[in-house]
Amino acid sequence: MTGSRGGPAAVLATEGLTKYFGRLAAVRDVTLALRVNALHAVIGPNGAGKSTFVDLLSGRLRPSQGRVLLEGRDVSGAPAWRMARLGVARSFQRTNIFKPLSVLENVRLAAQAVRLPIARLLSTPPRQTALIEAARRALERVGLADAEQRVAGALSHGAQRQLEIAMTLATEPKVLLLDEPLAGMGPEESERMAALLKSLAREHAVLLIEHDMDFVFKVADQMTVLVEGAALATGSPAEVRANKAVQTAYLGAQA
Amino acid sequence: MSIAIFLSQILNGLQYGLLLFLIASGLTLIFGVLGVINLAHGSLFMIGAYVAFLVVKASGSLWLALPACVVVGLALGALLERFLFRYFYNREHLDQVLVTFALILIFEELRSLLVGNDFHSVPVPAALDFSVPITAGFSYAAYRLVVIGVCLALAAALFWWIERTKMGAIVRAAAEKPEMVDVLGIDARRVHMTVFAVGAALALAAGGLAAPLTSVYPNMGDGLLIVSFVVVVIGGFGSVSGAFWAALLVGLIDTLGKAYGSAFSGAAAGGLAAALPAMSIYMVMILVLVLRPSGLFGGRS
């Protein structure tokens, strides 16, 4: 069910990806492909395995079966730090920033993670202007440029979610895995986030996990419905909405 | 290697292991239920030994010493919990390590103040001062057999308390999931105090039993403290049954290792191989922590 439409090659793809916890299959045989300019949303009820799926893609968990392919190369089982270095960045559902540090430092660290100046490891952060500039670019992109000196823990919830995204951008990734970026945001902030996500999808391969159905149908180009760990349907939003199985299993109450 | 010596080493290992179990069971319960690392547990052992010494000196009877140890232990444990440890449940482990380390120093000095720094021997009760013939040509000290018996009895009592009584069931559940206690609306403070009191009583009892065997002297709890931690790790945090098997394992490895280790290495005692029994025990501890943190014999992860 790869939704093969010809067109550009997949940046990040999975084949039959499966994860067992004991005897429970949290993710079962999921196959999908992420492309640039095709924002791919993954939806499903709570406990359907969406976050586990992202953990598998980002390297936080090792697959029990199946493969993860980055630009055609098999990277299954690579640890999180290596996946990040290879260009797969993820944001977290529960805000996972460095609260005691400044906003700029949060993003600067992210920038440092993938630009590894071993020879300059003993140099001080202010001297490494390339990192600071990369951090500022990322902050500019999400709209947090003014807040760079503030303590991350003191930001509003919405701003912290923006910071989450900035940290993924600072690593200049090929793939963005965004786990419920909207969590806890109000309608106005969600509008801004929608615009940001659409613009990001033009340059990166973006995977989005979200609960807000209206939002998803608005921004997504491709969708996959995950129920009890398995992909029930994959396709364009219209195709998915029309899918009978999806309607009964999931959208029924909300359609 | 005569059979007689082998048998006696096995029995020594059992006896050492059982004493270790008494100390480790308290330690594992305190960590499992209360989340507290109690470095002062070795000091409780020492206090038990000194209580036994004082009781014997005053009354001449070791039979009184054991109940005395238990009573003092219950009281001391309850007091420590109520007035000190209660404030440390939510503190970082670093703080707990340091506080219990401070307790060690304080206990040592108090002992020094009250009883002095001398080495004291505690006589085995006359009634038990003989050897029991086990096989032809091998007999074993009766008192040591009694120690084994008493330890097994205490272990049985502990298991019965945990498995069969209501408070014991609460403690067992709390060792697995400390949050349970609050959820079920049980008075957490009573549970905490009980656990601490029981743990302390066991440690003091071990000290009292050991006193005639090792004599009483400053710092006598030090060696046992670290080894008890090893037992707790190997047995699994919070698991009393785990601590039981782990203590026997460690006791046997240590005793047999010391007895036969030098024979294997061929070098005189004091050569490098002399460190092997201790090192192998720590090695097992490290392997368990790295590979199977939940312990070899069960216990919670």
Binding site: L109, Q112, P117 | L105, L113, G271
Partner: protein, 338 residues
């Protein structure tokens, strides 16, 4: 030279105060009796050990209960190299001691850093105990009683200074000044490390290790590097100890040594690197004061420690606001152990 890392002085006034402290220490032997010169030497050695541990605890958030073992191992290395009657020059013993400590730290770190938090505490304790067992249970270092060693010769470039050739009042000076130089060098080296990119990674690991991994840092490698550096510095401190005392025994590799080092950091405060130095001096002073009041030294120490842990959540450094500019993060000790 304003340090960026929150563990270093945040203002020039802070750095000036540090410099003043160093100058005061440099002038001390000129005014103080020989007994106090020796005492402050022990305080400086303790401070070196505490500083090395601070890199782990305050810098990377790794609380180790086996750090004293590297300190003691270095002292035993000096013993093995220059046993009583057969001294070796310091330019041989110091590098050797640091090398052995560093190698041991590499092995212990590779093993223990596979665990975290409480389990890490236990594994480091066990590793320290293994090293203890080697020296306590065998003849290698004189067994449980320890042994005398030949203090390393203070020779450099063919020139040897024999402390015994000095007038009695000044015999402790060479060791004192070597310790002072070593202490200053240790502090500056750590300051350099902490304010560098490497230090910022350690800080990130301390605050949120899983995020650091998710961002692309191989955190295991950074932690191991910090562990080894801390081990080498502890080794340098242990070497200094052997130079001062001329004696080794298993206590220097025991867990109590490690617990004392942790205690010094607590007394001085995890929030600032200089806290390790302050804490070490406070600890030694505490021992002295206790001795003056009563022969029940350990009792006073124990009670003081108890009070410190219960009351001083930030250590002594938390009591001195003028020393540190209020950082935007606010005060309070951040969790060193997750």
């Amino acid at each position: 030279m304003i340090g960026r890392n929150r563990l270093l002085p945040q203002t020039s006034a802070g750095w000036a105060a540090l410099a003043a402290g160093a100058v005061a220490l440099a002038l001390l032997p000129l005014f103080a009796p020989a007994y106090y010169v020796g005492l402050v030497t022990t305080a400086m050695i303790a401070a070196m050990l505490a500083l090395s541990l601070h890199l782990l605890v305050g810098g990377a958030g790794l609380v180790s209960l086996g750090h004293g073992a590297f300190y003691g191992l270095a002292a035993y290395t000096v013993f093995l190299m220059s046993p009583e009657g057969a001294p070796r020059p310091i330019w041989q013993t110091l590098p050797a001691a640091m090398l052995v400590a560093g190698l041991a730290a590499l092995v212990v770190g590779a093993l223990s850093l596979r665990t975290k938090g409480f389990f890490f505490l236990m594994v480091t304790l066990a590793c320290g105990q293994m090293i203890f067992a080697i020296f306590h249970d065998t003849r290698l270092g004189g067994g449980a009683d320890g042994a005398y060693l030949a203090k390393p010769l203070l020779s450099m470039f063919g020139f040897t200074l024999d402390p015994l050739s000095l007038p009695r009042a000044e015999r402790g000076w060479p060791v004192y000044y070597i310790a002072l130089v070593q202490l200053t060098a240790t502090y500056l080296a750590l300051a350099l490390l902490l304010r560098s990119l490497f230090g910022s990674v350690l800080e990130g690991i301390r605050v949120n290790e899983s995020r650091m991994e998710a961002m692309g840092f191989n955190t295991g490698r950074y932690k191991l590097a910090a562990f080894v550096i801390a081990g080498v510095l502890a080794g340098a401190a242990g070497h200094m100890w052997s130079l001062y005392s001329g004696f080794v025994n298993p206590e220097v590799v025991g867990w109590r040594q490690s617990a004392e080092a942790l205690l010094m950091i607590l007394l001085g405060g995890i929030g600032a690197l200089v806290g390790a130095v302050v804490g070490a001096f406070a600890f030694v002073a505490l021992g002295e004061i206790a001795q003056m009041i009563t022969s029940r030294q350990l009792l006073v120490e124990g009670l003081a420690i108890l009070a410190a842990v219960v009351l001083l959540r930030d250590g002594f450094m938390g009591l001195k606001p003028p020393w540190r500019a209020r950082s935007p993060r606010g005060g309070g000790r951040e969790s060193a152990l997750r």
